[in-house]
């Protein structure tokens, strides 16, 4: 069996899928060994499949999971006595404490701030994922309107790491954010705190 370049191009995708008959496969392989153009087509297609098949290609935006969970939490019925309800309540209390301490943070036992005018943050939830813009000295929560220099790149890290590195919380976004979250969560699961 002899195949032409056109036949190879028509079947090269099926060939990669292992979906061609043995006789055609052998003929294609014989052709490709002799034909530089068809070899290039096969190799190129193989690269395409490999590159696009990689999990790293499309990455969800920062904070995607968190925002999704928040939307789901809003869609879920509040149920008295569930472990989830208690967890939410505890998280809400943590957020309240965090929001209050952000606004009233003092310099005790803090590493040197990157900004001489900044108020260091204490007892901000250490696991909170925050964002730091390049050349910035302040950390923010996702969606903060006060993140400057976004073009220089934004890095995510835990609040605890940010504080250790000398960054300080953005009082505007963190204070407002934490208060809002706490307020909404408490409203939804008020029975837990009653």
């Amino acid at each position: 069996m002899v195949v032409t370049c056109e036949q190879v191009w028509q079947e090269v995708s099926n060939y990669l899928e292992g979906g061609v008959e043995p006789e055609l496969r052998i003929a294609m392989e014989g052709h490709i060994r002799q034909c530089k153009r068809c070899a290039s087509v096969l190799e190129g297609m193989r690269n395409v499949v490999e590159l696009y098949g990689d999990d790293q290609l499309v990455r969800a935006p920062l904070g995607f999971s968190w925002r999704l969970r928040w939307k789901l939490a809003q869609a879920m019925p509040s149920r008295r006595g569930t472990a989830f309800g208690w967890l939410v309540a505890v998280a809400a209390l943590g957020l309240i404490v965090g929001s209050l301490t952000v606004a009233n943070s003092s310099a005790r036992s803090q590493p040197a701030s990157l900004s001489e005018h900044a108020q260091p943050g204490q007892r901000v939830p250490g696991d909170l994922v925050v964002l730091v813009a390049a050349h910035s000295k302040i950390f923010h929560v996702a969606g903060c309107a006060f993140i400057h220099d976004k073009a220089g790149g934004i890095q995510s890290m835990r609040a605890g790491q940010a504080i250790q590195a000398g960054y300080v919380p953005c009082v505007r976004c963190l204070g407002q954010y934490l208060s809002n979250v706490a307020g909404m969560v408490i409203k939804k699961h008020a029975w837990v705190l009653a």
């Binding site: 290039s40 690269n47 395409v48 696009y52 098949g53 290609l57 969800a60 939307k71 879920m76």
Partner: protein, 225 residues
Amino acid sequence: MAMLMMVEGTSSVNEPVGPLEARQRELIRRVQNGEPEKFYELIRPFERRVYAAAFSILRNPSDAEDAAQEAILKAFANLRQFRGEARFSTWLIQIAVNEARMRRRKDHADVMEPIGEREDAEGVYTPRDFADWQEVPSEALERKEVRELLLEALASLGSKYREVFVLRDVQHLSIEETSEMLGISAASVKTRLLRARLMLRDLLAPKLSGGWFSRLGFQKGSKPW
């Protein structure tokens, strides 16, 4: 609702159930029986895939996030209808694809037809004659500009090619699942997949071939073909 019902009757899964699938079934049962919070655990492994499916169709991160969220909320609201006749991941991706397609239609995003949209899918596509495209290391994807280049090339395809390519080569669905999800024949899936792969190869080879990753601004060093 019709969208959700359509998937129920497709892709019968009679294969042996592995531990991951068994865990999924257990979580589905628990959500259906009144433990909604288990839904977080159920969808966690698929969040990125749902987003990727929406992004590939809408080509905009913000729209994709909205569509992905909506799809997952719909999956949560309609989980009682899921009876395990299709894989949960396939069911979820189907909802995301439908949501994204619906939003795209609403936004008339295809007023400007991308590459290949007007061409006849049954026609012969002649791949361009390049020099060898050497193997590209998977580490290349760690480079932001390579990822952007790949997404840009994908976005430039016509939607009928992009959808098939995304479901088969990005989401790793089978030809049959892709065919059922898009409501087209398996032969059409294969034809569109061939065309999409060839077009992407033609778009990317000039930019990614020839030791590109040793250069700093490889876009500037494209081969002159």
